[in-house]
């Protein structure tokens, strides 16, 4: 059942057993927590920049906003390359063919 991965091994059943053990440990820690928590209070509302908003949804466009902003310089360049014009698609092909020919003909 153990898959040799070249440098190590992988056994999903062992991993599941380990996860089960960690889950039991977490439950044991959790069971020692406070018991005076009451449901239906403000503590259950989503925390959105400190504002109390019932029924609010963090949409797909907002999630990882900072992450995307950080990558924006790279992503904008990539977006520009994906122009949607088939002429550009073929132009990239010419570039790659030149590289392939260089490696296959000259590189050898």
């Amino acid at each position: 059942m153990t898959l040799l991965t070249g440098h190590g091994f992988w056994n999903p059943l062992l991993w599941l057993a380990a996860v089960g053990g960690v889950t039991l440990l977490a439950l044991a820690v959790w069971s020692r927590g406070r018991r005076d928590y009451t449901r239906g209070t403000d503590g259950e509302l989503p925390f959105l920049s400190g504002e109390k908003m019932e029924g609010a949804h963090v949409g797909g466009g907002h999630l990882y906003w900072g992450f995307v902003e950080g990558l924006r310089p790279y992503v904008e360049r990539l977006r520009a390359l994906h122009s949607g014009l088939v002429n550009d698609y073929v132009a990239w092909w010419v570039v790659i063919l030149a590289v392939v020919f260089l490696i296959v003909l000259v590189g050898s």
Binding site: H7, P12, W15, V58, G59, W93, I96, V100, L105
Partner: protein, 512 residues
């Protein structure tokens, strides 16, 4: 008739003829069309499985068209002039992937496609695409590789663009057609060059003749150019998100299998046809393009808001892992270190894992679109309230594709990480980075579409669509929990076919 001996050609002929007969049955009655499709698909899957069992238990299978006995590959003069099918473990493995994807796709299409939305056309083109893919996997002849490449191209473009009432389908089909046509011409030119030099088209015969001359190398560059495009390697991938984004869901999973078959053709050319004159530089080229593909596609997926295009970029990214795995093996094929074989096994295993996981994601996206009428993350939200099964399937596929243990994507990615690390730690680091990006992408998609308050009304997803997704979900779990069994019985023989099986492939056809 000895069914076992004729199974390789029947596996191609049945869906090919079945596809052309499908519209005729539909003219008579819809139920006849359905019955015919079940018959054709069932027979094709059974024949493909029969071929695979023969290959995995007996060895390489050959079939000569027009010969008195299917195994008579040579003329009395010792020349393989007839059309020969040559099926080794890798070909059989690819055949099994196409069978799985096609059967699931047809089951899903049963209720996904409406009658007035070109259902007969879509099913016909899907069957034709399956026939073309099996032809590419099983052929032992370079010209027929081109012929089946064209069959798959025509069927794929039809599937992308047949929904003429959808504004962007025909445009995506046009772009795909331009790329496929130019790529097909490159392959044809390469075939013509090799035929002009050696007077033969048989892969095994050519493999034995090729010495690495200038003409051989020009042909190799043309084959690489054509097949890398069809596989969707960056920067020749740009047609793929357009096509995957516009084609109906049941067709997209066939298109994904089609790119994988093109990868298979690329590996066949590099390891079998040019295996005797393999150049480490070409291996490094494949590694570089693989790394570029997995990174660029993952980055592009981060900023997508259309769920279909987001998953499409995820699918392109997975092609990068396959290229990286097999590329690492190609750089090492001369020295044969142990990590080279593990890399190839990882790349091939990832083909199966990708077909199952990305197929599940595309089908889930199709279910979301059918149920809610939207695919844009800006409009979607809270679908988990109404589409519980689809939500679970999407989550399972997304986690598998991001390589989260113990799901199936993890095992193959681990093999690729570890083997590419031994070639260069940078490759491994970049591959892991792309997986992290993909995890972020799918967390964003899952949160945006399925969690939160109910923003979009959703109709129930028809049961046949859920069953089709359920089959793939079971595949994700089974491949993830028992990877060693799959690698030992299916993947390792397929990887050996590339790593050490070249001589066996040649001997099966040429006999010495």
């Amino acid at each position: 008739m000895n069914l076992t001996a004729h199974a390789p050609i029947l596996a191609i002929a049945v869906p090919l003829l079945g596809a052309f007969a499908l519209p005729l049955w539909a003219k008579l009655h819809r139920s006849l069309r359905g019955g015919w499709l079940v018959l054709v698909a069932g027979a094709t899957a059974a024949l493909t499985a029969l071929v695979a069992v023969q290959v995995y238990t007996v060895g390489v299978q050959v079939y000569t068209l027009g010969a008195a006995w299917p195994r008579d590959t040579l003329t009395p003069g010792g020349f393989p002039i007839r059309i020969v099918l040559t099926v080794d473990a890798l070909s059989a493995f690819m055949g099994l992937i196409t069978a799985l994807v096609a059967m699931v796709g047809f089951a899903y299409a049963w209720r996904y496609l409406a009658e007035d939305e070109g259902k007969t056309l879509a099913l016909t083109l899907g069957t034709l695409l399956w026939a073309g893919m099996l032809g590419m996997a099983f052929t032992g002849d370079l010209f027929n590789l081109f012929v089946f490449l064209e069959v798959t191209s025509i069927a794929a473009c039809g599937l992308v663009g047949y929904r003429t009432w959808a504004s962007r389908g025909p445009e995506a089909a046009f772009k795909t057609m331009v790329m496929y046509t130019v790529g097909g011409l490159f392959v044809l030119l390469a075939v013509a060059l090799l035929y002009g030099e050696y007077g033969a088209l048989n892969l095994a015969y050519l493999a034995r003749q090729i010495t690495g001359s200038l003409i051989d190398r020009i042909a190799l560059a043309l084959l690489l150019g054509g097949l890398l495009m069809k596989a969707g390697a960056v920067p020749l991938h740009m047609w793929a998100p357009d096509a995957y984004g516009e084609a109906p869901a049941q067709a997209v999973i066939l298109l994904v299998a089609n790119t994988q078959i093109s990868l298979y053709a690329l590996f066949r050319v590099l390891f079998t046809l040019y295996g005797g004159v393999a150049d480490p530089g070409v291996g490094w080229l494949v590694v570089a393009l693989g790394t570029l593909t997995l990174l660029v596609a993952a980055l592009m997926a981060v900023v997508q808001l259309d769920l279909g295009r987001l998953v499409a970029f995820g699918a392109v990214s997975q092609i990068g892992y396959m290229l990286l795995g097999v590329g690492v093996g190609l750089t090492a094929v001369a020295a044969r270190p142990a990590y080279g074989l593990v890399a190839i096994q990882g790349g091939i295993f990832h083909m199966l894992n990708d077909a199952v996981a990305i197929g599940l994601l595309f089908l889930a996206v199709g279910a979301v679109e059918k149920a809610s009428g939207h695919r844009n993350l800006a409009h979607l939200g809270g679908l988990g309230h109404d589409l519980r099964w689809t939500t679970g399937f999407f989550l399972l596929g997304a986690l598998a594709l991001a390589g989260i243990p113990p799901l199936n994507g993890f095992a193959s990615k681990l093999m690729i990480y570890q083997s590419s690390f031994l070639l260069s730690p940078i490759l491994s680091a970049l591959a892991i980075l792309a997986s992290i990006l993909l995890l972020a992408v799918f967390v964003k998609a899952f949160q945006g579409a399925f969690l939160g308050p109910r923003l979009t009304a959703a109709e129930p997803v028809p049961v046949p669509m859920l069953v089709a997704m359920g089959v793939l979900a079971l595949g994700v779990l089974a491949l993830g929990l028992f990877p060693e069994l799959v690698v030992r019985h299916l993947v390792a023989p397929a990887a050996d076919a590339l790593w050490t099986g070249r001589d066996l492939y040649l001997q099966a056809v040429l006999g010495r």
